[in-house]
């Protein structure tokens, strides 16, 4: 009888460990789906943005084609999470450069369509930023549980490996002054 109880307790602990590992793994996947949705939203904005700015921006052809190329890459099926994370960083910085370049074209800055696109992009960027932070927290929880004793043994048996987090740029942490942004646009 005591042996049976001991086996029962051990089995229960193993089940709880297994379930909590699976819950953390699924949480990461669920939140990544949210990140993905926000990233797609941004990809959807790109064609319209490029079409609106390209006739004015004669000196930034390379930057525009780079953004288009990144978008094509980003929409490829079967991209791994790590690839998507790497692409996100490139798209964020390329779009950032594009928005800075817009400042050099007064006609473009005053264009209603561009202003609207800039605001939509700003809104989408803030949704992406929120999704990235949620994902990073889920990954941190997941990485902690797969490295902590005793769940680390079960995690290695389940072939669970560490996941990458998004690098949050320092400027993202800074205050976004919307008023400034509106004045600039």
């Amino acid at each position: 009888m005591p042996l049976l109880i001991a086996i029962g307790v051990i089995a229960l602990i193993l089940i709880l460990m297994y379930n909590s590992l699976i819950a953390r793994k699924n949480q990461v996947d669920n939140i990544f789906a949210g990140v993905d949705a926000a990233l797609k939203k941004r990809f959807d904005l790109i064609p319209n943005l490029i079409a609106s700015v390209q006739e004015y921006m004669t000196h930034e052809k390379e930057l525009l084609s780079n953004i288009t190329r990144l978008r094509t890459q980003g929409l490829k099926p079967n991209l791994s999470d790590t690839e998507k994370i790497a692409l996100d960083q490139q798209v964020t910085s390329a779009l950032g450069s594009l928005m800075i370049s817009v400042e050099n074209y007064p006609d473009l800055k005053a264009n209603d369509n561009i202003m609207n696109l800039q605001r939509t992009l700003n809104e989408t960027e803030s949704q992406i930023a929120a999704a990235r932070r949620a994902y990073n927290q889920a990954v941190t929880d997941y990485n902690n549980i797969i490295e902590m004793f005793p769940t680390n043994y079960m995690a290695s048996w389940m072939n669970l490996t560490r996941k990458e987090v998004f690098v949050i740029d320092e400027h993202e942490r800074e205050n976004v002054d919307v008023k400034e942004l509106f004045n600039a646009s």
Binding site: A130, R133, A134, Q137, E172
Partner: protein, 321 residues
């Protein structure tokens, strides 16, 4: 919006003659109230004495004289100060509110509705009595805002089977339009567990909070120490609580010396500040001219109206333009 010093100037320059005349009224009222209390106390003592003199008893019935005296005195007092209270509110509070912003409406007898209180999801427990007053409603920099004093109680039964009222919330309750669209619910409560037990044990205890949405851990240590956050959409909670917003909320919390609970529900922000007293009431046994009393009205009003500026609720994203 006017600053605290502008409002203090307005109070002393414009409202002072009114307050002086109300002060005379207050003195007379305080005298009458003391006389009434003394008469009630005398009647209770007389009752106890007569009971002892004729029946040689000092029992439950004797204490009933005291209880009855206290109840009648409280009822009489409430009735006595009614006109004075209303006059203070209409002649002092109303102009003060309008001086902050002419679009603000002041309704002394009304309050934020029970529906708006329950919608916030901040407080749990069945509401037995919902009371409030001093509703202020309006639009500051195109942001709709309302706030009032609230006193919300539940009925609880102790181990002996005696039921008594427990306060769920008493203080200032503010509801304002938020500048972002969202569908989820995010609740921020004062973080007591983390303060007492530290972050690891505190977080574990908070994650076991039944009846609440899952715990959300945020990437700002100071904010995490100040608030415990529950939400049903971890991405949307972070969409609302950006790094900038967390800083603003922390600053706001530091300004308020009372527990603050905040919720984001139905595209609105709900803020409950537990002052544990009825604000915006005139004093009866203390001078109306006392500086501290004056400043407490002005500070509470500017704090509530100031949230629009403090949290930059007027900086709308294009989707809410």
């Amino acid at each position: 919006m006017k600053s605290i010093s502008d409002l203090t100037d307005f109070y002393y320059n414009t409202l002072y003659p009114t307050i002086e005349s109300l002060e005379e009224q207050r003195k007379a009222l305080a005298n009458r109230a003391w006389r009434m209390f003394a008469a009630m106390a005398l009647l209770a003592v007389a009752g106890i004495f007569l009971r002892w003199y004729y029946f040689h008893a000092f029992d439950a019935l004797s204490s009933m004289f005291v209880i009855a005296g206290a109840i009648i005195a409280a009822w009489r007092y409430r009735h006595m100060i009614q006109d004075y209270r209303l006059e203070f509110k209409m002649r002092v509070m109303k102009p003060l509110v309008e001086a902050i912003d002419s679009t603000l409406h002041y309704m002394p007898a009304a309050s934020v509705s029970q529906t708006l209180f329950e919608r916030s999801g901040l407080f749990q427990g069945h509401i037995d009595r919902f009371e409030g007053n001093d509703l202020i409603q309006g639009s500051i920099a195109s942001v709709n805002l309302q706030f009032s004093d609230l006193h919300v109680e539940s009925l609880t039964t102790d181990a002996k089977g005696n039921s008594h009222r427990t306060t769920i919330f008493q203080g200032l309750y503010i509801v304002a339009e938020f500048n972002k669209h969202f569908k989820s619910q995010t609740i921020l409560l004062p973080d007591n567990a983390e303060k007492i037990f530290g972050s690891v044990l505190g977080n574990w205890l908070q994650s076991k909070h039944f009846g609440r949405d899952p715990l959300i851990i945020l990437d700002n240590t100071a904010f995490e120490k100040a608030f415990v956050v529950y939400g049903n959409d971890p991405i949307e909670s972070r969409y609302i609580l950006t790094h900038t917003m967390m800083e603003r909320l922390l600053n706001f919390k530091q300004k308020v010396a009372h527990p603050v609970s905040i919720s984001f529900v139905d595209a609105n922000i709900h803020i409950a500040i537990a002052y544990n007293k009825d604000l915006f009431e005139p004093t009866v046994f203390q001078s109306l001219l006392k500086y501290d009393n004056t400043m407490s009205y002005i500070r509470a009003l500017s704090l509530a109206v100031g949230i629009v500026e403090e949290l930059k609720l007027n900086e709308r994203l294009w989707s809410k333009l």
